[in-house]
């Protein structure tokens, strides 16, 4: 073998092993989370109140799970509709100046440290009400997911063939009917994927919640103007607590969260794959 061949073999080996090293953590994370947390995942765990640090019952993550469901649904409803119409505008009126500015804003938003969005929500909805509240959390999560949804919806509408758009409009229907009834059928999977991506983001996002909902309440839902808990926030608070029992709850909650994220991820992948065929 000449020198070039040897160098090739060595370099390909180096690249492959570095690539494999960079993929190891994901497997380690999934395995560790489930080996520590899966055994906690019982029905009781999902609905019970968190346990006291010592003594008493084993407890669960009920309030946090309900809080996460409420916050995520609200965020997808608010952020989803804003993101959807923004994406539609960007796709169909891409030549306008507003579209350029909006596009730029979305690119900045997507890269924003989410804790800064939390600070913004704090100023708008927490400071005036003088109380940490669920609405502020949902507001912050909505802002976090708008750019993801808008950019993906834009792609979904953009990928509709031009001939199809012409055909829709040649039916003589109004623009809203064409976009929202006829063409939405074609863009459906893309739009759903966008919403799923937003949902996964909202379900796992933590930083803005720290400044908006605070979280450590031991009650179930008490109204949108009251503090609320969420699974990611519970993981953070309990993992950093000094109590071993709370660490265990954190692992169980992480297993629940990971299951939610994995489910959403797999569904969105299956939908994308079907589109390709």
């Amino acid at each position: 073998m000449n020198k070039r061949k040897v160098i090739e073999k060595v370099m390909l080996g180096v690249i492959s092993s570095l690539a494999i090293v960079s993929a190891i953590p994901i497997f380690a994370i999934v395995i560790n989370i489930y080996s520590e947390g899966a055994r906690h995942l019982t029905l009781d765990f999902l609905i019970d109140l968190p346990p006291p640090p010592v003594g008493g019952r084993d407890g669960g993550i009920g309030p946090a799970l309900i809080g996460s469901l409420i916050l995520t649904s609200l965020a997808v409803a608010i952020g989803g509709s804003i993101g959807f119409f923004t994406g539609l505008y960007l796709s169909e009126f891409s030549h306008t100046r507003l579209a350029q500015y909006t596009q730029m804003s979305l690119q900045i938003m997507v890269e924003f440290p989410t804790i800064i969005i939390g600070l913004f929500a704090y100023m708008i909805l927490v400071a005036p009400l003088k109380r940490f509240n669920a609405l502020a959390g949902a507001f912050a999560l909505s802002i976090v997911i708008i750019p993801y949804i808008a950019l993906n919806v834009r792609e979904a509408y953009r990928s509709i063939p031009y001939t199809l758009k012409e055909a829709a409009f040649s039916l003589g229907v109004s623009a809203p009917t064409a976009y929202l009834r006829i063409l939405l059928g074609t863009a459906k999977r893309g739009v759903l994927t966008a919403l799923l991506i937003g949902m996964a983001k909202a379900a796992g996002e933590t930083a803005p919640l720290l400044l908006t909902i605070l979280g450590t309440t031991f009650t179930y839902f008490g109204g949108l103007d009251q503090p609320i808990n969420a699974i990611p926030l519970l993981i953070y608070n309990f993992a950093l607590s000094p109590y071993e029992r709370w660490h265990q709850v954190a692992w169980g909650a992480a297993a629940a969260l990971l299951t939610i994220i994995l489910t959403i991820f797999i569904i969105s992948r299956l939908m994308v794959r079907e589109v390709k065929i």
Binding site: F85, P113, T206, A207, I261
Partner: protein, 299 residues
């Protein structure tokens, strides 16, 4: 008014919201942080003190923490991200490529609090045992490794960040790599180049995309909050080595904000930190977008 007109006004209203939000956030950062800059001017950035009782704040250690952890992250993740991109587009057999790309996308969509939990209880002890202690023992005379390590510190945060941003940087590079015109690759092979030489040529061709990936990933690393807050040690001292416990700006906000209301100037100080973080992060992202534009104009 026709329904067309109403509909387009409706869409314009929605499209303006993002613009309003970004403007609102920038204004909120300026309005809420100006008291601290008024009080301390620029010494707020260059002072190392966090004394709520005396209402004296200077963000320097956290700013350094942000820079150090993201520097560690970027130097570890760059070779990994490039390798992962090349591996999945050039080396791996076709039928495994979608799998590895899915794995990488999944990594990018895991919540950071899950990385944080794993980093705190799995990664930190491993790094402590097998990396930090040996480095401190044998290379402790180098200032970088001079502090006697404990598991949660700037170094752990940097490594965890590296793991988190690899898939992100790699997907930027991957996209550019697979967008290189096929005839270029054919031409390279037809010159009798080995695969490695072809890869080298291709990487040279997409240099801008690699820079873009690095800068965008750097922006992410700087803004990342939860995972870092869980492993960085949360101690407000000027870092002297990589093994010092520290703070980053975002973890400082996460950690201090819940009790900030008890003091007069802590909230402005934290907004001030956020404002600096915003400026630094925006610079990184604009640099990244600049390089992406360069890639686009090439293709």
């Amino acid at each position: 008014m026709s329904s067309e007109k109403i509909f387009s006004i409706f869409l314009i209203a929605f499209a303006s919201i993002s613009l309003l939000i970004v403007t609102g956030i920038v204004i909120s950062l300026i309005v809420n942080s100006y008291p601290i800059f008024l009080m301390d001017s620029l010494s707020f950035i260059f002072k190392s003190v966090w004394n709520p009782v005396k209402e004296d704040y200077g963000i320097l250690p956290a700013l350094l923490g942000t820079l150090i952890t993201s520097a560690i992250a970027i130097s570890i993740s760059t070779p990994l991200a490039i390798s992962l991109a090349v591996f999945s587009t050039e080396i791996l057999p076709m039928r495994f490529r979608e799998f590895i790309n899915n794995i990488s996308d999944l990594m990018a969509s895991l919540p950071s609090v899950i990385y944080g939990l794993w980093g705190l209880y799995v990664l930190a002890p491993i790094l402590y045992q097998y990396v930090m202690i040996p480095l401190h023992q044998y290379l402790g005379f180098i200032p970088l490794f001079s502090t006697k390590p404990i598991p949660t510190n700037l170094f752990t945060a940097g490594v965890l960040l590296a793991i988190m941003i690899v898939p992100f940087a790699s997907s930027v590079i991957r996209e550019a790599y697979s967008a290189v015109p096929y005839y270029l690759k054919e031409a390279a092979y037809s010159l009798g180049m080995t695969k490695w030489e072809v890869i080298k040529t291709m990487l040279g061709y997409i240099k801008s995309a690699i820079f873009a990936g690095i800068f965008l990933a750097l922006g992410r690393a700087m803004g990342e909050t939860m995972a870092v807050a869980m492993v960085v040690g949360n101690t407000f001292t000027l870092p002297k080595s990589l093994f010092d416990m520290g703070y980053t700006i975002s973890s400082l906000i996460a950690n201090q904000f819940p009790n900030a209301e008890a003091y007069n100037h802590m909230i402005p100080a934290l907004y001030g930190g956020a404002f600096i973080l915003f400026i630094v992060g925006l610079t990184m992202n604009l640099a990244g977008l600049y390089w992406i534009k360069k890639v686009m104009s090439k293709g």
